[in-house]
C-alpha cells in the first residue's frame, strides 16, 4: 500500500534580539577586542574568568578586574571527532575547560589539536587570536597546544 501524502508546509520562526551586556560582561568583551583576557576577583579572592557580576557567596557586586594570562592548562575536555556545520572548526578538535594562568576557575573554549591523543588534562594551551577582533568571545579563535 502506498503511503498517504502528508500535508506539510515550510515554516521558519525567528526573532532578532539585542543585548545590553552591562558593566562586567561588557568590560570582558571590550578587553577581548584589545586582545586581553580579564577575570574578576570574588570575595574569597578567587579570580573568576569570564567575570561575573555578583559574588557567588555573598551576592555583593563585584568590580575588581584582574588581567589573566593567554596561556593556561586543560582541566577537562570532550573530543569532537566529526565536526558539524555549527562547530567553530571544520577539522576534529576538543571542547575544553581551560584554567588560564592567574585564574582560579576554568572557562570553556575550543582547542585545536592534531589528534585526540594530544589532548590531556594538564596539557598547556595558548590563545590564538582572530585576525580582526570585534568584542565577541570568538575574538579568541581557539586555543592551541603549547
Amino acid at each position: 500500500m502506498s503511503q498517504p501524502e502528508i500535508l506539510n508546509q515550510a515554516f521558519e520562526l525567528g526573532f532578532t534580539y539585542t543585548r545590553s551586556t552591562g558593566p562586567v560582561v561588557g568590560r570582558f568583551l571590550t578587553e577581548l577586542k584589545n586582545r586581553r583576557i580579564v577575570g574578576i576577583k570574588a570575595s574569597d579572592s578567587r579570580v573568576v574568568v569570564p567575570p561575573m557580576e555578583y559574588d557567588p557567596d555573598t551576592a555583593e557586586e563585584l568590580s575588581e578586574f584582574v588581567e589573566v594570562g593567554e596561556q593556561g592548562e586543560i582541566v577537562s575536555f570532550a573530543w569532537v571527532k566529526e565536526p558539524r556545520e555549527a562547530h567553530p572548526m571544520d577539522v576534529p578538535f576538543a571542547w575544553a575547560m581551560i584554567k588560564l594562568d592567574g585564574a582560579d576557575v576554568p572557562m570553556i573554549h575550543c582547542v585545536a589539536a592534531a589528534s585526540e591523543g594530544d589532548v590531556k588534562t594538564g596539557a598547556r594551551v595558548r590563545a590564538v587570536w582572530a585576525d580582526e577582533t570585534i568584542g565577541f568571545i570568538t575574538d579568541i579563535r581557539c586555543f592551541e597546544l603549547v
Partner: protein, 387 residues
Amino acid sequence: MANLAAVVGIGQTKYTTKRTDVSIAGLVREAAVNALKDADLGWDDIDAVIIGKAPDMFEGVIMPEIYLTDALGCNGKPMLRVHTAGSVGGSTALVAASHVQSGTFKRVLTVAFEKQSESNAMWALSNPQPFSTHLNAGAGGYFAPIIREYMRRSNAPYDVGIKVAVKDRLHGARNPLAHLQKPDITMKEVEESFMLWDPIRFLESCPSSDGACAMIIANEELAEQAPKSPAWIRGGAMRSEPTMFAGRDEVNPQAGRDCAADVFQQAGITDPRKELDVAEVYVPFSWYEPMWLENLGFAPVGEGWKLTMDGATSLIDGGDIPWNPSGGVLSSNPIGASGMIRFAEAARQVRGDAGDHQVAGAKLALGHAYGGGAQFFSMWVVGSEKP
C-alpha cells in the same frame, strides 16, 4: 486558616525605553536592592526568591531565573519561577504571598521584570503559524475588535478612551518612576495621534519599557517588626480561561468576574467602589478602564464609561475611586513587571508611601493584572490594617 502576610519592602527601577547601561541581571538586581533598602534588610534575611516574567521568547533567554540567582542573592536558596503571560507580575506576587501564608517561608523576595529593549515582544506575541495567514497583529491587534465590541454594546461616547489616556498620563506625571512624562497632554493631542490598531490610537496604547519591580513579603511576626508600615494582604485570587471557546465573552470575561468576586469576598468587600480607596488596574489600552470597571464590579454592565467621564477615577479631579494614580500601564509597561507594579503601587498607597500620587488617607487598595488574550487574572487587596 492561612497565616497573615504583609508587604514590608518595595523597590522599583525608573521605567524607560532602554536601559543599555545594565544587563538583565543588573536590572532585576536594582529593583531587588531597592526593596531590601526599603525594608532595611539584607540578602541573608530572605528565605526564597519568587521570580516572574513574560514568555522567554521575549528576550530570547530561556529560563532566565537560573542565570539570575547570583544577582538576587539566591545561591543556596529556593528559586521559583512563575509564568502567566502579562498577568505574571501579579500572580508572582500571589505565589510569593502564598509561600508565606502557608508557613513554608518567613520572608521572601519577589521580583518581576522585562527588558523590552532587548526583546521582540511585538512579534513574540504574534507568531506566524503553518497553514494560517500571519496577521502581524501584536497585542493591540488582538484587543482592538474586543474594544470595538465594548463600544457597540455600551454606546459609550467616542472619547472615553481619549479621556483615560489623558488621565493616566497626568497621573504618571506625578510619579517620577513613570516612563512617559507628559504633564501637558491634551484630549486633542491624543485624538490626533495616529490610529495604530483601529479603534486604538497611538496615545491610547502603552509604551514599551525596560524595568523591574520587587517586593519583600513577610509573615505577621516579622511584618510587625518592620521599620516602615506594612501593607497587609487581605485577599488574593487568580483565575484562568482558554483564549478561545464557544460562547466566551471576551469583553467581560468570566475569569475576571470570578477572580474579583473571590478576592472581594476574602477582603469582606461588597461594594468595591465605595469600600476601596484606590485601585491599580492593568489598563494597557485606554478602553480597558471602562471595560474593567464593569468586569470588576465598580459599575453596572454598560456603565463603566460613566465613571471615567465623570472623573470618578481621576486623582487630579478628586474622584471618589482613583484608578492608576501611578500612571498605570499606559505610562510604563515593562510587560512581565507591569502586574507586580500594580500590586506594589496598591501596597504603596496603603503604606502612605506613594509620594505625589498618594491618595489621601488610603486604607484599602486593589492591585490587578491580566494577561494572554485577557484570559489570566490575578488580584490582591491590601490594607493598612491587619485583617
